[in-house]
């Protein structure tokens, strides 16, 4: 089964995934129109900032077992077995924030949403773009990502690539693949600036 895989070292913090996500969860599904909609479409993926001002696309891991599912008072959170997606039934959701209390990743948000009953504040999080997947599209955040920080692939494939990359760096005659020089330079400067600020 394909799923969204996050490669944090490749996130440049451009926030494109957030825009694409909000647009994908809007009525019109186009950015110019989406920004005019009410309720305002909002992203399910959140680019958080790391300790060195670097980006990190934080999204629901669809944990199994999912703490949010177990803690949900009205039993509104459930799992779609086919896509292994933890979903929220917005009709049942009572906006109690119990899910935020138990989510160790901080991915829940609370607001009115185009997919929820009108004027009702509900818990909102990543739904793996199930609606898009049903139409043969990949999740919007992955489609928007230009640096490969978000990919849509079977997890074992991604794991194997990562394992290979790690083993290459430790094997004899290693061929370490350095990050691009310009990106490494920028990162160095940003680390230096953060170090200086916290002198």
């Amino acid at each position: 089964m394909k799923q969204v895989v996050v490669h944090p070292e490749r996130c440049v913090g451009c926030l494109q995934c957030m825009l694409a996500c909000a647009t994908a969860h809007s009525r019109s599904r186009t950015l110019p129109e989406a920004v005019l909609e009410s309720p305002r479409p909002r992203p399910r993926v959140h680019v958080g900032v790391g300790c060195f001002d670097e980006g990190f696309p934080n999204r629901c891991r669809h944990c199994d077992p999912a703490p949010c599912m177990l803690a949900c008072l009205p039993g509104a959170i459930y799992r779609d077995a086919q896509t292994n997606t933890v979903l929220i039934d917005t009709d049942r959701c009572i906006n109690c924030a119990s899910c935020a209390m138990v989510c160790p990743f901080g991915v829940l948000r609370y607001h009115p949403d185009v997919l929820a009953p009108p004027d009702k504040t509900v818990a909102v999080k990543c739904d793996n773009c199930i609606a898009r997947q049903q139409k043969g599209q990949i999740p919007a955040c992955v489609e928007a990502c230009r640096t490969g920080a978000l990919t849509f692939e079977p997890l074992d494939g991604a794991m194997r690539r990562k394992t290979d990359a790690v083993s290459r760096t430790v094997s004899a005659g290693r061929r370490e693949v350095p990050p691009p020089a310009g990106y490494a330079l920028l990162t160095t400067i940003k680390h230096e600036q953060v170090r200086l600020r916290s002198h």
Binding site: R10, C11, V12, G13, C14, L15, V47, V49, G50, D53, E54, G55, F56, R146, T147, G148, P179, P180, A181, G182, Y183, L185, L186, I189, E192, Q193, L196, R197, S198, H199
Partner: protein
């Protein structure tokens, strides 16, 4: 004190005001900077292009995604185009500022200048001579008219090269000619940069960058230089005078007016109005002890240089000063005025007034200054400020001001040396002064406020390197107490001896950010005296906390003029290592100087010292 405030600024007044304003629920630049994190990596690296609507495009720095824009531009082209436009915007800003002064000069010549006048007739004549204007036996107004006309031509396409380039050493001018980067017209080079960076024009990244240097030179030896020189003619050439700095310059018992922006055309008139006995009487009648005019940012530096008007703070202080609750009115012209500032003012009683037809701000009252109405309008505004004193609520002025000396124009420095640069050259030759560094530029919330300026300055002067500074850097070191004669205690033995004998501080305030050209003029004069090129001199430039496009233009004209320049924050160029290498290494073989990027001022000081020592060695010193 919260660690946050300590990380944000080294200035005690800023820290205390930050704490106070957080309590007032006021959002400041630091808060907004945090909210912007993470910055977009494409933009930080210069890899996004919005120049046409086949795009916008971006290049994947990791190499898997797109490596060309829709038009086919690669990372080199996109980074070079973006940097070119950055320089163009900076050059345009300085040069347009200069244009406004030339317009006032022309109005004065026509006799339509209201309160403006020629204050430095000698300088008018000197400059007129440089422009080939006949000065013998003619009245000032006639000379001014011809000079203004000549300067207006500098902006156009009548020249093959800019007039004031003649001040540069001949070797340098020949080099510019050889590289085909001699600037021809001030507006022309900016306009051509916009043309070249249009889709489908200049797609050779090196050629683009070379034009970037030419564009920057059109600012340094053109627009900015005209701005400084005409300001001197109209408002007087600065000479050393005592002043005060930091937010403590605001006075609890007086009506406080702050001028903010860059152009002395407005602030000079406000100063005159503040000094009028009628206004002072009005203030007293309303329970104030007088009227206190202070500056922030570079229009403050303009007044400081010529009149010793006190300076309340630099770029990142501009919101904070309002948090004192002691400012009756802030009058702004243009550049570096954060659009947030009127929103800050709504939390206090401060009235915010914009004055330039080209710079309007949400929440400000717009009262447009023109030469014909300037004097009257300034009086009206000061009167309204005085009347606003009654609306004052709680006042918080948490610090005492720090004394400083400003006003070191090239004329003043040469004057202090006894009329010739020889004593300075002798001190450099003797090794008492190892060299000189120009520390310039802004504040940037990426860097702890003033930490870059103050640390670098301290390290350089203690190693016998004379520091000249301008703009927000100059305000930072004034607040830190480096701009008084007694500051020689921080200097190395040689610099201490020389400055002590001349009774000058080891850090000389040379003015606002357009006044960086004073540094160029000084460097050219030293090179000419030694009969070498600027790039041969034991000097360097630094912009430890730069943020603006103007600073990008300044850095580029420093380097193109042969001055090695160390930047604090990284410009958006890391998307192309070819561009990085050219700017930080390759330019050495082209213009005899390069950029360096070093956010740590301690390390920047080492770079500058090494450069200066290498240059001394090459000169046989």
């Amino acid at each position: 004190m919260k660690k946050e405030y300590i990380q944000e600024t080294i200035a005690q007044d800023s820290r205390l005001l930050l704490r106070k304003m957080e309590g007032d629920a006021v959002t400041t630049v630091w808060e907004r900077h945090r909210d912007q994190q993470p910055h977009c990596g494409f933009c930080e690296m210069g890899l996004s292009c919005r120049n046409c609507v086949m795009g916008p495009c971006r290049i994947d720095p990791f190499g898997d995604g797109p490596q060309q824009g829709v038009c086919g531009a690669d990372a080199n082209i996109i980074v070079a185009r973006n940097l070119g436009r950055m320089i163009a915007a900076g050059a345009a800003s300085h040069s347009d500022h200069g244009r406004d002064l030339v317009e006032v000069l022309a109005k004065v010549a026509e006799g339509d200048g209201s309160g403006y006048q020629i204050r430095d007739g000698a300088k008018l004549r000197r400059l007129a001579a440089e422009f080939g204007v006949d000065v013998e036996g003619r009245e000032e107004k006639q000379i001014a008219a011809d000079l203004a006309y000549g300067m207006q031509e500098e902006y156009g396409m009548r020249r093959k090269s800019l007039t004031l380039l003649a001040r540069a050493p001949e070797k340098r001018r020949r080099l510019w000619d050889k590289l085909n980067i001699t600037p021809r017209g001030i507006d022309r080079e900016t306009s051509e940069m916009m043309h070249r960076t249009h889709m489908g024009v200049d797609n050779d990244w090196q050629s683009l960058l070379l034009h970037g240097l030419r564009n920057a030179l059109s600012d340094g030896w053109g627009g900015s230089m005209i701005a400084t020189e005409v300001s001197d003619i109209l408002f007087g050439t600065p000479s050393p005078r005592p002043t005060l700095s930091n937010v403590g310059v605001l006075k609890k018992e007086q009506v406080n007016i702050i001028v903010h922006g860059h152009n002395p055309v407005v602030s000079e008139m406000v100063l005159l109005a503040c000094q009028s006995p009628e206004m002072i009487e009005r203030a007293k009648a309303r329970g104030a002890q007088g009227i206190n005019l202070a500056g922030v940012c570079c229009t403050g530096n303009e007044l400081l240089m010529r009149h010793g008007v006190a300076m309340a703070g630099n770029h990142l202080c501009t919101e904070l000063v309002l948090g004192t609750g002691a400012v009756e009115m802030m009058i702004v012209d243009y550049q570096c005025i954060m659009p947030s500032i009127a929103q800050v003012a709504t939390c206090y009683h401060t009235r915010m007034v914009s004055t330039s037809d080209k710079a309007r701000f949400p929440g400000m009252t717009h009262r447009e200054f023109h030469p014909h109405n300037a004097a009257g309008l300034a009086r009206e505004l000061v009167q309204e400020a005085v009347d606003n004193f009654a609306n004052r609520k709680a006042v918080y002025i948490p610090v005492e001001p720090v004394p400083a000396v400003g006003g070191f124009s090239v004329e003043a420095i040469v004057g202090a040396l006894g009329g010739t640069p020889e004593p300075l050259l002798d001190a450099i030759k003797a090794g008492k002064i190892r060299g000189a560094a120009g520390i310039v530029g802004c504040n940037n919330p990426k860097i702890t406020q003033d930490h870059g300026h103050v640390t670098l300055t301290r390290r350089l002067i203690e190693n016998d390197i004379l520091v000249v500074d301008t703009g927000c850097a100059a305000v930072a070191t004034a607040k830190a107490g480096f701009k008084v004669a007694e500051a020689i205690q921080y200097a190395g033995p040689g610099l201490k001896e020389v400055c002590g004998a001349l009774q000058i501080p080891p850090v000389l305030h040379m003015g606002s950010c357009v006044d960086n050209v004073r540094i160029l003029v000084l460097a050219a004069a030293l090179a000419n005296a030694l009969q070498v090129d600027i790039s041969d001199l034991p000097i360097a430039g630094a912009a430890p906390e730069w943020y603006s496009e103007k600073a990008a233009a300044i850095g580029a004209y420093f380097v193109a003029s042969g001055v090695y320049t160390v930047l604090g924050p990284m410009p958006p160029i890391t998307g192309s290592m070819d561009v990085v290498h050219l700017l930080t290494q390759g330019l050495e073989g082209v213009v005899g100087a390069t950029f360096a990027v070093e956010p740590d001022p301690e390390k920047a000081a080492v770079l500058i010292r090494e450069r200066i020592e290498a240059k001394r060695k090459a000169l046989g010193l």
